[in-house]
């Protein structure tokens, strides 16, 4: 028996997620807590990537695309209405990431000062490296 995940009426399909990253995206979007239909497909065959993950969300959900661009800017987002793609959203790598991740450097001022924004600025686009605006500690998003 096949699971009916192929068509959704209204919602979002996040496609071309790097295999293995699907669960990350799932967690970032808090999909474990929602009560509408969500499908996480792992290791789907893909022409481009060999294997990919896909997430299908049967709901008009407000997504922070900045965060998705950070996890993996190569994935594509399809907004579905009436069972067809209404809009394709291209992700880009955000130049500035605020209050998404925290600096782990114990010498960083963010470890003691409360109520300040945790700001990371893009520093190497190719390697997806971000730098804490306070202490300059470098993070690649894949390790976060």
């Amino acid at each position: 028996m096949t699971v009916s995940i192929n068509s959704i009426k209204k919602g979002i399909v996040i496609d071309h997620i790097k295999a293995g990253h699907g669960i990350k995206v799932y967690n970032y979007l808090g999909l474990d807590k929602v009560d509408f239909t969500v499908a996480l497909i792992k290791n789907a065959p893909s022409n481009k990537q060999n294997k990919k993950d896909i997430i299908k969300i049967e709901n008009a959900m407000n997504i922070d695309f900045t965060v998705l661009g950070l996890i993996d800017p190569t994935m594509t987002i399809n907004i579905i209405e009436n069972e067809s793609i209404k809009e394709k959203i291209k992700l880009s790598i955000p130049k500035k990431v605020e209050d998404v991740i925290k600096c782990k450097n114990p010498r960083c001022v963010t470890s003691v000062e409360k109520n300040i924004p945790h700001i990371f600025l893009l520093f190497d686009e190719e390697k997806l490296e971000y730098r804490c605006q306070y202490c300059d500690e470098v993070y690649t998003f894949s390790e976060v």
Binding site: C108, V109, V112, E113, K114, N115, I116, Y134, C135, D136
Partner: protein, 307 residues
Amino acid sequence: MLEGRHLIEPMDFTNEELDGIFELADSIIEDEKSYMDKCRGKILASLFYEPSTRTRFSFEAAMYRLGGQVIGFSEPSSSSVSKGESIADTIKTVSCYADIAVMRHPKEGAPKVASMYSDIPVINAGDGGHQHPTQTLTDLLTIRRTKGEIGNITIGCCGDLKFGRTVHSLIKALSRYENVKFVLISPSELKIPDYIKREVLEKNGIEYVEAEKLEENMGSLDILYMTRVQKERFFNEEDYIRLKDSYILTPDKMEYAKKDMMVLHPLPRVNEISPEIDSDPRALYFKQAKYGMYVRMALIAKLLGVC
């Protein structure tokens, strides 16, 4: 225009803006008396969350010599910090009383936080192992006054290059000048961090070599920048014994040096420069400390917009 700006890291200012500070420092050195009233009526808040007598004195003397006054604390236990007040609240309050603030803090990025919430200029006087921009201004002014220019030099940095924040800042700052070459002399455990090699040196196509022994490289240097190597930084006793003497500058090593080489050191020194060197005209570290005060006078005056 530097009026109202902050100095958090050396690269906050362009080379032209730095030149403006150095030119003002030159003219203060030339005729200090005509600057003694420039900051009359102005107050510097000196916020030292960890003790650093040397840097604090340098700033406070600079303000007094400009005719200004100083308020502040020199250890957090005597301040509201011990009551758990945030940096943001401290600087907002201090902004009500003072015209300019200088901050030394053990946490990296603390002065940056202060600058985000401050109505008055904030100067970073050292944040953990991160930045020490006014030391860099001091080093650059010393090089400029002694060599006549900042570019066209081969500079040897010797000692603990891994944790030495003054060296990191200096390399960054020098990378913006023409024809600067580096000889990086350190034990293998204390080599310059990769990110400095990658982002600063290699990215800017700057020539550098890494070495272990000082005397073998002495002859090629126009400047020798010494820093401390502490015994506890070594991973094993053998390496320490093998290398400890190669990082102590002694008169016999100075024999290999050019006649006009400059020896710099951010001070305080422990035993990495033998006191016999002090009388050598090439030893500039005490002069450097004096220039440090003048460059801070120039910086304060510029940020306050009085010169």
